[in-house]
């Protein structure tokens, strides 16, 4: 029968942990046997890291598309042509929803909340096509668990499923439900910027860019219509918005005009125009060397402030994935603590605050497996840091106005700069 093999987007979903146990499966159509996963397990065996498993795999009758989040593989079984990004994006949305509901997305949490997870999956897909993926809508249908509620539920036999049916899905503002009420009306915006950079041996910037995100927490009564404007919108080079943002207003006036979802959401993400040079807040002086003979090596890292905009660098942390041949380290840190994980060969130096008067230094010797050849490449240093109260690009929110409601909300904007993928080659 020709044309019988009509598909659906996502046929089945399997959740698999690192050791290869399938701890949840859900089928939206007929049941697909677990044997289809053999192809996946084969690929997983071959891969050194779980990240190395190819996201798209082919089997004789199915296609397997998987993502890896929170030490779990979310694997979707597909039967027909479908844009792979469609599936990947959806799987991430599922993981995001779990995160949103349970505070984290891990095997234990999913196992503990199996029924809610199942109910969520049921609402998120119909016949393999996404149905309700907006967190505001889902939360109206299935309430997230809280300790109090679960106690009450066990005593009274109450449910997690909302009695009221969601209104949001019907309106053209699917992200916001009607009848929101707060006694304290507040709107907080966090401007978070991340510096992605590659510095070479000598500290020269090979590549650097700033990407930012505005996370919002809006708790406002009714149907507020917000307008947020920037002092210097020109800095924003490339942007992507939550669906609530009116794109036309942005195009013509460079302001964000939107009816916000209720609660936490990501308002926009942006990329700072590459015309502006990126200020690199710290410099790293390092010397890592391995000796040809004697099976040892030397490590000396110092970190100092560079362009910090007059603020303190906090949460400074250096992660060094050592070559496999490094057996142990014998180091002293002038500040903070360091750990060396013998299994993963990762050195983590947690420094904390950067004191410009007394620069943190880590130095000492590395012992290398006897007889092993000298590692060819020195390990790269991955840096984490945080600077409060400043957006490194200089982006500033100008003002936030509210229309459509009478009350005066409390408004707040916070700026944070962090290191994103910040790598120093050595």
């Amino acid at each position: 029968m020709l044309g019988f093999f009509v598909g659906e987007m996502i046929h089945s979903l399997f959740l698999i942990n690192l050791s290869g146990d399938i701890f949840l499966e859900k089928h939206w159509k007929s049941v697909v046997g677990r044997s289809v996963l053999d192809y996946f397990f084969e690929a997983k065996e071959k891969a050194v890291n779980p990240e190395d498993v190819a996201p798209v795999l082919q089997t004789p009758h199915h296609y397997l598309i998987s993502i890896y989040r929170g030490k779990i593989f979310f694997l979707a079984v597909i039967q027909t042509e479908v844009p792979p990004l469609f599936v990947i994006e959806f799987l991430h949305r599922v993981a995001d929803t779990f995160q949103d509901y349970f505070g984290e997305c891990s095997e234990n949490v999913i196992k503990d909340n199996l029924v809610i997870v199942y109910e969520l999956l049921e609402e998120m897909l119909d016949n393999g096509f996404p149905l309700a993926t907006e967190s505001n809508v889902l939360k109206e249908m299935i309430r997230p668990p809280t300790i109090l509620r679960s106690v009450v539920n066990t005593l009274t036999g109450g449910t997690n499923v909302g009695d009221m049916l969601p209104t949001g899905q019907l309106s053209n503002i699917p992200w916001r439900r009607a009848g929101v009420k707060y006694t304290n009306n507040e709107a907080y915006f966090d401007v978070i910027e991340e510096i992605d950079a590659i510095l070479d041996k000598s500290g020269t910037t090979v590549f650097a860019e700033i990407q930012g995100v505005i996370e919002a927490c809006v708790k406002l009564t009714g149907m507020p219509d917000l307008t947020l404007s920037f002092m210097n919108p020109r800095l924003l080079d490339d942007v992507s918005f939550h669906p609530c943002v009116r794109f036309k207003r942005w195009e013509s006036e460079r302001v964000l005009s939107f009816i916000p979802p209720d609660g936490n959401f990501t308002l926009m993400t942006y990329h700072v125009s590459s015309q502006n040079l990126v200020a690199i807040p710290i410099y790293v002086k390092q010397n890592i060397s391995f000796f040809e003979t004697g099976s040892c090596g030397r490590l000396d890292i110092t970190i100092g402030p560079k362009q910090t905009m007059g603020k303190t660098v906090e949460g400074l942390m250096v992660t060094v994935p050592m070559p496999k041949a490094v057996l142990s380290v014998n180091l002293t840190a002038s500040q903070g603590n360091f750990t060396y994980d013998l299994a993963t060969k990762v050195l983590v130096w947690d420094i904390g605050k950067l004191n410009p008067q007394k620069l943190p230094n880590l130095k000492g010797s590395l012992s290398v497996q006897a007889g092993a050849p000298k590692p060819e490449e020195n390990p790269a240093l991955n840096i984490n840091l945080k600077i409060q109260q400043v957006a490194i690009s200089g982006l500033k929110v100008n003002r936030l106005d509210m229309y459509g409601e009478k009350y005066k909300p409390f408004k707040g904007v916070k700026y944070v700069t962090k290191a994103g993928k910040f790598q120093v080659r050595t």
């Binding site: 016949n127 053209n172 992507s240």
Partner: protein, 1105 residues
């Protein structure tokens, strides 16, 4: 089936008081069902009891455990009878869990499943739309063939439901029914046709999914709905957008003619001319054969563009593929930035996007070249991500950027991930063959790698060297000798085989070594791998032919060994070779030709991208990702040669969307108004609460009134929506005034891209025109096309603070240093920069705009452990001020505005770059807009190219350069059209005559020391309190002057450095904060007139916040 009637009973009674009613029938039915299934499943017995109890909480608890079993993949089918009874429960959660169970097991227990059907049938009539929808959802998910007629009926009914949510569910149900019984196709198509006409954004996505699965070939169903779908698109939910866009891509490919020029002149594969000639060609063609795009085609492109800003990566990708497959070639590049943005998303997203970019970058290097650095590999990337990035970098390599890329590759070769290092070596090989300038450098680098400690690296190098030598069969005996030397240390079979092959192929170039190698191989023959053995036999045969005196015995010995080898391939080969080369009476005619057979010149292997043929699949598809045709993949149809009838898309009143063919630059699109919250549903549902919100949204008010009249649902719908379409486009046209201002911000945003484009367009003509230019445009005339192309390259990365003389200095430094530096480090260095600096740097400081990134890289080479060089951060904040050049009243419709983009001028370093936005506000098109005579006559202006034609309402941004000779005297010139001439003048603010300069604090103090006395101007100023922070001061100063920030240790001093554009005189500026509102402003420069003017401007700026 005793449960049947009992169950129905209960179903009938469920409106009555439930708890009491339920208990009696349940117990009895349980008994009956129990007998059938219980025996083997003792374990779940307690569940059954719980399900049959009359306490809701117990039932719920039991169902939760049952769902847990299902989730873990354990069977729970024996509980079906006990579960199915609860389908009519009042408890919503219980009911939902029962639904979950039902959908999972109905197929296995068809008879029992039928018991639940009546409950759903009843629910389909429920007044609550959600209950109707959910009943339909479950009913259609029960895969029991016998209920097909019931499903069909339910779907048809739901398709005309009042609630769009129910209609949406019915669209989903269509696919389910179709997969259950494809015979229903015709009836289902009728429903699809009906739902396609639906105007709700809720329904649109779902019905298109159904269309795609049931009848993707019925393109005729789309015609009438095409425009509506395009207009609704922005407001459809994100998943629906993906499906609609992909369907419309296919639709457009069958309905519109190709926007791509015949002869495919815009072929960027012809690597070298990317910058110069392409644009000219393109322009020529546009003029030669005006292609008029179907307005509907344009509508689609226009309405999908905003979706590039979606947060959903699948949506962005689908728009990107739509542009790739449908847009005119010059418009495709607007998707680049968004695709690059997706690279910051999750690893899996990166993987797919990189695959697509890899395919795109083969055909269109230029699209991604400016973003090259986004593809740099981090050691923490997953292996497949690394490999894809490498692939893209290789695709992007050209003469201009190869040095940067090779330097990057050099880092990768040393990676601990050996598979990746090997892939890098292959990539180097590909670069070497593609770009002849670097072949030798690469080859030398690879030879150095032969002494690497890692075997895979060595092996891969050998293989690549072999391929390279084959493509370059010149004098490479040294390399071959070297390889013979290291041969003993190489154990990887493929590498050994490659060396042996090389020996044999070029045995005449190494006459002494080859026989010796053969001797060694004869000894170790039996222990070699098969692939090596074959090559030994090969080598023996070739040597026998060229040097039989020395090798005859060796060859015979090897052939004898081969004759008794365990592998039949080797035995075969040996036998064949023996017959071929050893003359004997039996050997036939071939013997004579042995030499010609074995030593024939071999064609060189072609090293090409693994993604070369991927473009046969539509981008973004699963098939593209896998590089094989996936089940259900639909080929993207080719453009029709003749345009099909356009009128099929007309709906009642024929009123096509206004459209112009893009003749000059980027024609401003009429704002497609589209009320962002466009839909009528919105207005209906939200009623009063929404109206207050939309009041301030003035731009959408007219159109939303249009759509609210749509609401009446009469036949005039279409008319009014068409009308609103028209008004909106009209208003877009008439309000070109406001368009201008938006085009400015637009140009700000795209400034980088645009100036680059313009620069490319202009740069070549500049060289040509200069002969006729008698105004002392010496340097321009000198500029060869090569130079101009190199300067436009540097533009792509350049930052505004790169300053000519310093650059020159550094460049010189670098020239002297890296040689020692690199060599003494004893590292594998693939490149010695001076060997092939692709853009020869002119020695006159004026033309040396070297990209700063290259520069910083160069610095990196020379400085080993010196503390990192301080980089100057030049945030060019502050809004760009736009000035009026020509008002449209005086300009007879032509209006012009200008601003200083603060970028180095591409034409001549002594010029200040100016961008002019020309807008046609008249109702007729303007032709031949150009610059006429100037005053003073010796004013050195680099004119923009004549704009041949500017359509009404359109605007175009052009770049020009003006040499103000470091004075604020206005540049006067004429702006001419075909008919008229208008005198205009540009008067620069003094701050615009500067260029930022890179400088360390020490240098600053040193230079300041030299510029004292009469070269120093200072003044105590009062500052607004708001401007006392560092950022605020920087911002104010930068808004006045185009000058660079010097990082500074002290908190109360702010320093800035710059040079004048024309003469390059240093301008040093420092602001010392005294008390709260007092500051000392000092300017050190030879140009004292400029200093005092600057002082005046700055005092003013700093006093106000």
């Amino acid at each position: 089936m005793s449960t049947g009637p009992l169950y129905n009973d209960q179903g009938g009674a469920d409106t009555a008081v439930e708890a009491g009613q339920e208990s009696t029938p349940t117990t009895s039915s349980a008994g009956a069902a129990f007998g059938l299934f219980s025996t083997d499943f003792k374990k779940n017995e307690d569940l059954k009891e719980m399900l049959e109890s009359n306490k809701e909480s117990l039932k719920l608890e039991a169902m939760k455990r049952v769902v847990g079993l299902i989730a873990k993949g354990k069977t729970a089918s024996e509980l079906f009878p006990a579960v199915v009874k609860n389908v009519a429960s009042k408890n919503i959660e219980l009911k939902k869990l029962v639904y979950v169970y039902l959908v999972r097991y109905a197929e296995e227990q068809q008879d029992l499943a039928l018991l639940s059907i009546s409950t759903f049938q009843r629910a389909l009539k429920d007044p609550n739309q959600f209950i109707r929808a959910s009943a339909l959802r479950v009913l259609s998910s029960i895969r029991v063939p016998i209920i097909v007629p019931i499903m069909m009926l339910a779907i048809k009914e739901a398709a005309s439901d009042m609630s769009p949510y129910v209609r949406k569910t019915s669209a989903h149900a269509i696919q389910k029914l179709y997969s259950l019984d494809p015979e229903q196709k015709e009836q289902l198509i009728e429903v699809i046709e009906k739902l396609l006409k639906d105007k709700s954004t809720l329904v649109a996505g779902s019905v298109v999914v159904a269309f795609e699965e049931v009848c993707p070939d019925r393109i005729d169903l789309i015609h009438k709905n095409y425009r509506k779908l395009c207009n609704l698109l922005v407001d459809v939910e994100e998943w629906g957008q993906v499906v609609i866009i992909s369907m419309l891509t296919r639709y457009a490919r069958t309905q519109f003619i190709s926007p791509w020029k015949e002869g495919a002149a815009f072929d960027e594969n012809s690597e070298k001319t990317f910058y110069d000639s392409d644009h000219e060609e393109k322009k020529d063609q546009t003029e030669a054969k005006p292609y008029i795009m179907d307005p509907d085609h344009r509508l689609l492109l226009r309405n999908t563009k905003p979706l590039l800003q979606s947060r959903n990566t699948a949506v962005v990708m689908s728009v990107a593929q739509l542009y790739w497959h449908l847009a005119p070639k010059q418009e495709v590049s607007i998707v680049t930035k968004s695709l690059v943005r997706l690279l910051r998303s999750h690893r899996e997203v990166q993987y797919i996007v990189l695959q697509n970019i890899a395919t795109m970058s083969i055909q269109r290097k230029g699209m991604f070249e400016p973003f090259m650095k986004s593809f740099y590999v981090r050691s923490t990337d997953a292996t497949h991500i690394k490999t894809l990035k490498l692939e893209i970098l290789t695709n992007l390599a050209n003469e201009a950027n190869i040095s940067t890329i090779l330097r990057e590759f050099q880092t990768y070769v040393k990676s601990q991930d050996k598979a990746f290092a090997a892939a890098t070596i292959q990539a180097i090989g590909r670069c070497a063959t593609n770009i002849s300038e670097v072949t030798d450098t690469c080859l030398n680098g690879l030879v150095l790698l032969l002494s690497n400690r890692d075997e895979t690296v060595v092996a891969e190098s050998v293989v690549v060297i072999k391929k390279l030598l084959q493509t370059q069969p010149t004098q490479h005996s040294e390399i071959i000798k070297h390889m013979a030397k290291i041969f003993d240390n190489i154990t990887v079979p493929m590498a050994r085989a490659s060396i042996l092959w090389l020996m044999g192929e070029y045995c005449e170039k190494v006459p002494k070594i080859a026989p010796d190698v053969l001797r060694k191989m004869a000894k170790s023959f039996t222990t070699e791998e098969d692939i090596v053995k074959l090559q030994i036999v090969n080598l023996a045969a070739k040597l026998y032919l060229t040097n039989s005196k020395q090798t005859k015995l060796l060859t015979q010995y090897i052939l004898n060994l081969g004759k008794y080898d365990q592998n039949y391939d080797i035995r075969d080969r040996t036998r064949f070779i023996r017959q071929l080369i050893v003359p004997s009476e039996k050997s036939g005619a071939l013997n004579k030709y042995a030499r010609r057979i074995l030593l024939a010149p071999k064609p060189a292997p072609v090293l090409e991208s693994a993604f070369k043929d991927r473009d046969r699949y539509q981008l973004g598809t699963l098939s593209h990702s896998l590089n094989t045709k996936a089940t259900g993949y639909q080929e993207l149809p080719d453009w029709p040669s003749e345009a099909p009838d356009q009128s099929v898309r007309n709906v009642e009143v024929i009123e096509p969307v206004k459209e112009w063919a893009p003749l000059v630059g980027k024609v401003k699109q009429p704002k497609s108004d589209q009320k962002f919250y466009s839909d009528e549903e919105d207005e209906k549902e939200e009623g009063g609460s929404e109206s207050s919100g939309s009041e301030d949204d003035s731009s959408s008010s007219s159109s939303s009134s249009g759509s609210s009249s749509e609401e009446s649902g009469s036949e005039s719908d279409e008319e009014s929506s068409e009308a609103s379409e028209k008004t909106s486009s009209d208003s877009g046209k008439s309000s070109s005034e406001s368009e201008e201002s938006s085009s400015e911000s637009d140009s700000e945003q795209n400034k980088k891209n645009k100036t680059k484009k313009v620069a490319q367009k202009r740069s070549k003509p500049a060289a040509v025109n200069s002969d006729s230019d008698k105004n002392g445009n010496g340097p321009v005339a000198d500029a060869t096309s090569e130079e101009s192309s190199s300067s436009s390259e540097s533009d792509s990365e350049e930052d505004s603070d790169s300053d000519a003389p310093t650059v020159q200095k550094k460049k010189n430094d670098v020239k002297s240093k890296p040689k020692e530096g690199v060599k003494s480090k004893k590292e594998v260095s693939l490149l010695d920069l001076d060997d092939f600096s692709p853009a020869p740097v002119n020695n006159t400081p004026k033309s040396a705009f070297v990209s700063s990134s290259l520069l910083s890289d160069l610095e990196g080479l020379s400085l080993s452990n010196v503390s990192p060089t301080i980089q100057v951060n030049t945030p060019s904040f502050g809004p760009i001020k736009t000035h009026e050049l020509l008002h449209h009243m005086t300009g007879k419709g032509l209006s012009a505005k200008y601003h200083f983009p603060r970028q180095p001028c591409l034409y001549q370093p002594s010029m200040v770059a100016v961008q002019v936005i020309l807008t046609n506000s008249s109702d007729h098109s303007l032709e031949e807009i150009h610059i006429g005579s100037r005053n003073p006559a010796n004013l050195n202006i680099h004119c923009f190219n004549t704009v041949e034609r500017l359509e009404p309402g359109a605007s175009v941004t052009v770049s020009m350069g003006i040499d103000f000779s470091d004075s604020t005297q206005a540049a006067n010139f004429q702006l001419c059209t075909k008919e008229d001439q208008f005198n205009v003048s540009i008067q620069p603010a003094v701050g615009e005559l500067l260029m930022p300069s890179t400088m360390t604090e020490q240098d600053f103090c040193k230079e300041q020391g030299k510029l004292l006395g009469m070269n120093e101007t200072s003044k105590t100023i009062t500052m607004a309190t708001a401007t006392t922070s560092r950022q605020a001061v920087n911002k104010q100063v930068l808004s006045v002057a185009n000058i660079g920030v010097v990082s500074c240790g002290l908190d109360n001093i702010h320093r800035f450095a710059g040079r004048t554009v024309s003469s390059g005189a240093l301008v040093l500026l420092s602001v010392e904060m005294k008390e709260t509102s007092c500051g000392l402003l000092t300017i050190n420069t030879e140009k004292s007139v400029m200093a005092s003017m600057l002082l005046r401007d700055l005092t003013h700026a700093l006093a106000q916040s």
